[in-house]
């Protein structure tokens, strides 16, 4: 079907590019692109793909919009706080371009639903904030032969890579495995709000190039970006013959769920303390060595309220200090929900701390079970 008068007008600047033209615009209209993760990366990527006229745009995300998202997730506005992301995003994208179809998939990607979801799309953009999901997405794309444009961010740094099955390396060729709990998330480490704008726009650019068959895709080249230095670097990535999913003898022949982050990498020597157990430990400390309370939350969270005697070392600053801590008695790591404290334990074990402990459920659990007056700051 030929482009309508409205479409000819809307996409005039594309049509003026000989590399795209009407044929390219019709290819975009016929394309089906899935954006995994409607977050920092997914926001600009989806906005640009919608504006570009990708005919069917899918968004997969199970989260709701939070106020802390708005610093970088430009798909949403203040009125969207509390709404399912996919629902709010769908409205925003259709308002931007009513000529396209937007499909909201409010789900958690898992091994048992990923193939069915991906089958309906031609190309996948990965902007998830969960490391385990990156492997589920990659493996499904390899198994289905779907192009994948992946990107990731941390503080001021970003990576991007395009994976064309059979034509170049996949994400597992880049990083065969990741040690969960060691690679910090943006929630813990922070992220410059505009950083995912740069990387998400690169993902959208790659998607448009692949769909329309123009230019040279970012295949076999890892693009790294550092906002502080304002430098891009390009580093070669080769296919691995021993890649578990796209190598010569693949061992992954169907998607597999990653174990929950942190839990997968938790050494058995980590002690988990319930709020009650911690209270008893502190009460009996007169007769025994004093447990070393290390609160790994951010300083602003610590300032709101902390346990008496706790020392504040944010998770991002913890590693260099662990060797010193190793000789100072049993550290008990604390955080808001127990996630960061568990990651701290993993790091502590790796640094030689014999039996680190953490407060399971975090200070939220402490407030619920031990001290209802204990105010826990938002993360």
């Amino acid at each position: 079907m030929a482009l309508s008068a409205a479409e000819l007008s809307r996409y005039q600047r594309h049509l003026a590019l000989p590399e795209l033209g009407k044929t390219g615009q019709e290819l975009l209209r016929a394309a089906r692109v899935l954006v995994v993760g409607a977050g920092g990366l997914g926001s600009p990527a989806a906005l640009y793909l919608a504006a570009a006229g990708v005919g069917r745009l899918g968004l997969a995300d199970c989260d709701r919009v939070e106020l802390s998202n708005l610093q970088r997730q430009v798909l949403f506005d203040s009125g969207d706080v509390g709404r399912p992301k996919t629902e709010a995003a769908r409205e925003r994208l259709l308002a931007l371009n009513p000529e396209i179809a937007v499909h909201a998939h409010a789900l958690t990607l898992r091994a048992d639903n990923v193939l069915e979801l991906f089958r309906d799309y031609d190309l996948v953009l990965d902007g998830t904030d969960r490391l385990g999901t990156r492997y589920v997405v990659n493996d499904a794309c390899v198994l289905l032969g779907k192009p994948l444009v992946t990107a990731a961010i941390h503080r001021f740094e970003g990576h991007a890579l395009t994976c064309l099955p059979g034509r170049g390396p996949c994400y597992r060729c880049l990083f065969p495995a990741a040690e969960a709990g060691v690679v910090a998330s943006c929630a813990e480490a922070g992220v410059l709000g505009v950083l995912p704008g740069v990387l998400g726009a690169i993902q959208a650019t790659e998607a448009i190039k692949i769909i329309t068959g123009i230019g040279e895709p970012l295949v076999g080249r890892l693009l790294t970006y550092d906002a502080l230095e304002m430098r891009f670097w390009e580093l070669p990535v080769a296919r691995r013959k021993d890649c578990a999913v796209c190598g010569e003898h693949p061992t992954i022949t169907k998607p597999e769920d990653a174990e929950p982050p942190c839990e997968a990498a938790t050494p058995s020597s980590v002690r988990r303390l319930s709020p009650t157990a911690l209270r008893e430990l502190l009460a009996s400390a007169r007769d025994r060595p004093v447990p070393l309370l290390i609160d790994v939350r951010e300083p602003h969270e610590f300032r709101t309220r902390h346990l008496p005697g706790a020392r504040n070392i944010p998770l991002r600053d913890l590693e260099p200090q662990l060797r010193v801590l190793a000789g100072q008695g049993m550290p008990v790591f604390l955080c808001r929900s127990g996630r960061r404290s568990l990651a701290a334990c993993v790091l502590a074990v790796q640094a030689g701390v014999a039996e680190p402990a953490h407060l399971e459920g975090g200070l939220l659990a402490w407030a619920a079970e031990v001290d209802a007056a204990f105010e826990v700051a938002a993360g």
Partner: protein, 88 residues
Amino acid sequence: MSCTVRIPSPLRSYTGGAVTVAGEGGTVAAVLDDLERRFGGIRFRVVDEQDRIRPHIRLYVNTSEVQALSQPVRSGDTVHVICALSGG
């Protein structure tokens, strides 16, 4: 032999936030040892107990991927330490 080592974002807590640091050594192994002397603990985040490059880390000397820590490093080279990022 003086080279420039680019530190990935997740490991900059070891280098006081520095994006790049100077490194000394004629091989990747020697450069990592040099970093360890000044930024204790960083080496173990890059390689494991058997001196294998960790699966979520990639090392490059300029644009050549490091396969073995014995790979030479020459004066003026840039050693890139790349770490998997999880944020989206």
